[in-house]
Point group: C2
Chain length 143, copies 2
């Protein structure tokens, strides 16, 4: 995974009209360098060691701000935790029902993301999700 510099991330936040505090930059930097659709807890746990004063509230605040500004996408693929994706381009997701990891599926036809026209509705966004078993869990299980 490519590691964006903090100053790159700083600029990136400005592009979304977000004031880049130390915490916000750290959270976005984590999202950009770990495109693993982390949960709030994943982010907090990862950053906590190097930022001991960081609070989970700030992670929540920060992600909600990013959502409002359109800088991240929230995935509802996992019924337990919200997951966040800094890649706001159109791509499908696959959740492994054994380990709960979420993978990107970039090969899936982008045509799927064309929004259908339905009388009377304003349709604004699409989310395409799959559930299955990932390679690791498949081999880990048996043959």
């Amino acid at each position: 995974m490519e590691q964006p510099t903090l100053s790159h991330t700083h600029q990136y936040l400005l592009g979304f009209d977000i004031k880049p505090s130390v915490q916000r930059t750290a959270v976005m930097n984590y999202l950009l360098s770990h495109m693993t659709h982390p949960t709030v807890d994943d982010i907090y746990t990862a950053l906590s060691p190097t930022m001991p004063t960081l609070s989970k509230t700030t992670v929540y605040n920060t992600l909600n701000l990013f959502l409002e500004k359109g800088a991240v996408r929230m995935l509802t693929i996992d019924e337990r935790n919200a997951r966040y994706d800094a890649d706001i381009s159109h791509h499908a997701h696959l959740r492994c029902r054994m380990c709960d990891r979420v993978y990107d599926l970039r090969d899936v036809q982008p045509a799927l993301f064309s929004l259908p026209r339905v009388e009377g509705f304003d349709i604004e966004a699409a989310e395409i999700s799959y559930v299955g078993i990932c390679p690791e869990c498949k081999t880990g299980k048996k043959g």
Copy 2:
């Protein structure tokens, strides 16, 4: 909405290898006659008046059993509450971001539900979700 009789629902449950108690039959009957993707609370609130001893725990137990037996589908389209759909055929959903109602989109090409083949993964199910504004909220808002 067509109202299945309780004895029809009773038979329906047997078809999924589910022992039909009074409570289970009532919950499934509600799901079959209200295809509105209700939450646990919706179901509990609706049945409670005519079944005063019903508990929310039983609704949870029952829905989890239905899920295991494949008799209902759980939707993750709403990040706050789990929603349940007794229609296990392939169809897309649309959530109104103003009122949070969930609608069926049967017109959407069923081709969307063909499962992609990805090296190393076993892909088992697809969920296609849209977010937008429903007709009621559109006109309720303005113009």
